[in-house]
């Protein structure tokens, strides 16, 4: 889709304005996702893979975008997924949620619903019990932004 509807233009504009007023860099530049990721990983490199991100390719309503994440792991006492962070690189604030798993989880899987202000990448980083890091990224096209409501 190349042409924007009036509603889209207004919603994206609203987000940019909100971001500018609270002192975050404008919404069309990068948000704070890199800082959040760096804090999570401690600067260590992450390998791609192991994480499955189940997200719609096109979200008609950015206010409730269903997200299911799953990480390949035996989930035993010695080898399990500790935590997974999800960030959105085009929202006024990148942080979405951090999931904390335990060996008692059985499988490292969780679902929730999130807000996406516009078309952007959803990025997940997982930290395993041995400290290794994995990442995954998926783009979601948003037709109506979830900023405001």
């Amino acid at each position: 889709m190349t042409e924007f509807t009036r509603r889209q233009v207004l919603s994206v504009g609203g987000c940019a304005l909100a971001a500018a007023v609270i002192g975050v860099r404008p919404a069309f530049a990068a948000n704070d996702h890199q800082e959040i990721i760096a804090k999570f990983t401690g600067g260590k490199a992450a390998k791609e893979g192991k994480i499955g991100l189940d997200l719609p390719e096109i979200a008609e309503n950015g206010n409730t975008v269903p997200l299911t994440l799953s990480v390949e792991s035996p989930m035993t006492k010695d080898d399990y997924v500790k935590r997974v962070i999800v960030v959105a690189d085009g929202n006024p604030r990148a942080a979405v949620a951090t999931f904390h798993f335990s060996p008692a989880s059985g499988v490292a899987e969780a679902s929730t619903r999130m807000r996406l202000a516009k078309t952007q990448n959803v990025i997940a980083f997982a930290e395993m019990s041995d400290g290794s890091l994995y990442m995954a990224k998926k783009q979601v096209k948003v037709t109506i932004g979830g900023c405001g409501g």
Partner: protein, 109 residues
């Protein structure tokens, strides 16, 4: 504001070793702190559920740190491997410091 009510769906029974699914939902507007009042132009203060914890027999099974990008009426689904019978305790923490809790029993055979 409407009363905040947590809802949880957990199977009543499970076989030992079975991975069960737990679904939770809490009614909450999840005000992001990014929106403005249309009349006054003032920013509406942030008010969200910022943490969710699921314990089983006192041990943490799952937890989630929640940011404003989680939708209103946050829905969370996760899993647990059923090993023994016991009780779940679910806690949601609001920005204003209030805690909402729910408990559910699970029988493992």
């Amino acid at each position: 504001m409407a009363s905040i009510k947590p809802r949880v769906k957990v199977p009543k029974t499970a076989k030992k070793g079975e991975v069960i699914e737990i679904k939770t939902l809490i009614s909450h507007k999840m005000e992001t702190g990014q929106r403005k009042d249309r009349k006054t132009g003032e920013t509406i203060p942030r008010n969200i559920i910022n943490k969710f914890v699921a314990n089983f027999n006192g041990n943490q099974v799952f937890a989630m740190d929640i940011d404003p990008a989680v939708s209103a009426n946050p829905y969370i689904k996760f899993n647990m491997k059923a090993e023994t019978s016991g009780e779940f305790e679910f806690t949601w923490v609001d920005d204003d410091g209030k805690k909402y809790t729910a408990t559910k029993k699970l029988a493992v055979n």
